[in-house]
Amino acid sequence: MKEYHLTIEAGKLHQRYLKDLWVYRELFLFLAWRDILIRYKRTIIGIAWSVIRPLLTMLVFTVVFGKIAKLPSNGVPYAIMVYCAMLPWQLLANTVSEGGNALINNNSLVSKVYFPRIIIPTTSLIVSLIDFGISMSLLGLLMLWYQFFPSWTIIFMPIFLILTCVPALGLVYWISGLNVKYRDFRYVVPFIVQFGLYISPVGFSSSVIPDKWRLIYSLNPMVGVIDGFRWMVIGGGSNIFLSGFLLSLGLSMLLFLSGFLFFRKIEREFADFI
């Protein structure tokens, strides 16, 4: 029998937080499994939804930006260029909109059982990753349709996937924490997601941004991630803006760390608040 020892002392609970995260890893997987089950319980609607949404958005963007506005795509089918950006964007948007309300939807858990609360918004990332996988296979079909062969750099996919998860988690920690504290914050979330879609280079290539603005544009952490995705799938054609990319990465990390710390700080009051 393993010896368990626990000391609860006012204001000192956070010292064992990282250890607790490890202890509760199984609960994390269970909660993620639950969310996935619920999402796909009515199978047809569940899976269809994760296909229809990016597909329709992609169609609209291709028509509006590619056909009507005639923005450049460096010889790549415009649909593929948009879809490459849709993948990380959907991952972030789903995580944020699902995870933002997760604490409130699980308030019975928060007020009745102990576990590191950060598990709850984090599980929304896992669900979004499943969606990402489905959308990804759709990209394959799209490439077959256009007879487009991806660049060898596509092997870096896992790295870029992680780079997408970093700002997504940072954002979801901020939002879910604020949501508990201020109940009307959830009305702001859809707006943030909508707004983000237009200020990120999803419907167009970031090369349309004049060079002198590009560094400032890269203050949006998603710019680096989306550029990275395009570079990875399409190859050298959509050359990467390196200093901007690094700036985006740095800001992503900052978003993640600040989100984590903010969440940690207000997490202790959740049970009294929710």
């Binding site: 010896e3 368990y4 020892h5 626990l6 000391t7 609860i8 002392e9 006012a10 204001g11 609970l13 199984e26 609960l27 269970f30 909660l31 499994w33 639950r34 089950l37 619920i38 319980k41 699980n106 019975s108 858990l109 928060v110 007020s111 009745k112 059982v113 102990y114 576990f115 504290k181 201020y182 109940r183 009307d184 914050f185 702001v188 202790r268 049970a271 009294d272 608040f273």
Partner: protein, 422 residues
């Protein structure tokens, strides 16, 4: 056995209440809009009355849910926590289970803690029974392997074999509760915290749950049990803690604590009748020794003093002996048609003698009713007065006396004979 498993030192918990309460006194959520408005108004006020002190802080009020709790719990103890609503019982469990942080103090726990503050925490209506068992088990702190090992036992305990693949939203509420409790009952922590969860479910299932919990404590587990049901507390616990407004009032064996709680919480219903009306003046048990002991299997004598300003043609007096859960065990009634009393103005003493009181050792109370049966009006009543205890007899039997084995005892004669060889 016998070593300290939980040590609580100077534990306090403060909540801030005040301006974020609505008219009903319920907590309101902060909203961003309110916050912004509040600040905006503050700035506006500051501009208009630059010299006035900001009143914001004076609206806040501190509320100490727990004050300076010190406790030492030994392994295998089963502690019943009792107290009125708001005494801090649930807060104590919430701190022990780490759901909320203490404001001051320190707790050392040497064991795995599982808390059962609600039946079916985390159950999801869309998921089926099987999935919910796994999910709920994980939430309560079981590992996947543990759940797998116990799965069949849980299903059998909950009696839901046929409905494992049905979403729990289609369960009857009884099935739902059974399943939820079954999962919790198969936890194997060293320390179990239980908050008023047995109030649900039918009587038979409640019994089963209590039995299960007794088994657990038999295995040397430590149990914290919060309930308003004193029978359950008595049955399950050996130690009692009485909380009142966040402080420990009494920490002793469970019967003492339960009796004390009931005695203090029951209003001694001495209604302030105008002394010019007919009323019960006094009730006394004359057979008590040592303050409030009624010796086991002995003569019981009750004396009731009545006053009436006018003659009552058909007076009636009755008394009940009740146990600490409020159940009536003995009921006696006297009608003035049998023996005259109160037929003329003045003071009367009515005495009742029970030659041998057969009540089992326990604590008891008395209710007295005084009525005019002619016009069917109750003139006065006195509830929960004359607390007395029937102690365990001095002489030991060949087996031990146990508390709450019976409510009534009768002398009997055994006879044995050898009937046949086979």
């Amino acid at each position: 056995m016998g070593n300290t498993i939980i040590k609580i030192e100077n534990l306090s918990k403060k909540y801030i209440i005040g301006h974020d309460r609505d008219a009903q006194g319920a907590f309101q959520y902060h909203s961003l809009r309110d916050n912004l408005m509040h600040h905006a108004r503050g700035i506006y006020q500051r501009l208009r009355h630059p010299l006035q002190v900001n009143r914001e802080n004076t609206e806040l009020e501190e509320f100490w849910a727990l004050k300076d709790i010190n406790l030492e719990i030994k392994q295998g103890d089963r502690i019943g926590i009792i107290g009125r609503n708001g005494a801090g019982k649930s807060t104590l469990l919430k701190i022990l289970s780490r759901i909320t942080e203490p404001t001051t103090g320190k707790i050392t726990i040497a064991g795995r803690v599982a808390s059962l503050l609600e039946v079916g925490t985390g159950f999801h209506p869309e998921l089926n029974g099987r999935e919910n068992i796994y999910l709920n088990g994980a939430i309560l702190g079981m590992t996947r392997l543990e759940i797998k090992k116990k799965f069949d036992e849980i299903v059998a305990f909950a009696e839901v074999e046929k409905f494992l693949d049905t979403p729990v939203k289609r369960y009857s509420s009884g099935m739902y509760v059974r399943l939820a409790f079954a999962v919790a009952a198969h936890l194997e922590p060293e320390i179990l915290l239980v908050d008023e969860v047995l109030a649900v479910g039918d009587a038979q299932f409640q019994k089963k749950c209590l039995g299960k919990m007794e088994d657990m404590s038999g295995e040397g587990r430590t149990v914290f049990f919060v309930s308003h049901n004193m029978l359950n507390i008595r049955q399950l616990c050996n130690q009692g803690i009485l909380l009142n407004s966040g402080e420990i009032v009494l920490n002793s064996d469970v019967s003492t604590v339960v009796d004390n709680y009931l005695y203090s919480s029951l209003p001694t219903n001495r209604n302030d009748k105008n002394s010019s009306q007919a009323h019960i003046k006094d009730v006394k048990i004359l057979s008590l020794v040592n303050n409030n002991f009624q010796p086991f299997l002995s003569r019981f004598k009750l004396s009731i003093t009545l006053y009436t300003p006018h003659g009552i043609s058909n007076a009636a007096i009755s008394y009940q002996i009740i146990d600490s859960s409020g159940k009536t065990l003995i009921y006696n009634l006297l009608h003035s048609s049998e023996q005259e009393f109160c037929h003329i103005p003045g003071e009367f003493t009515v005495e009742s003698v029970i030659p041998v009181l057969h009540l089992y050792p326990n604590s008891y109370f008395i209710n007295v009713f005084f009525a005019n049966s002619d016009i069917r009006v109750r003139l006065d009543k006195l509830l929960n007065c004359c607390h007395f205890t029937v102690p365990f007899p001095e002489e030991t039997r060949t087996y031990y006396w146990r508390k709450d084995d019976a409510v009534y005892i009768e002398k009997n004669k055994w006879s044995c004979r050898h009937v046949s060889q086979k």
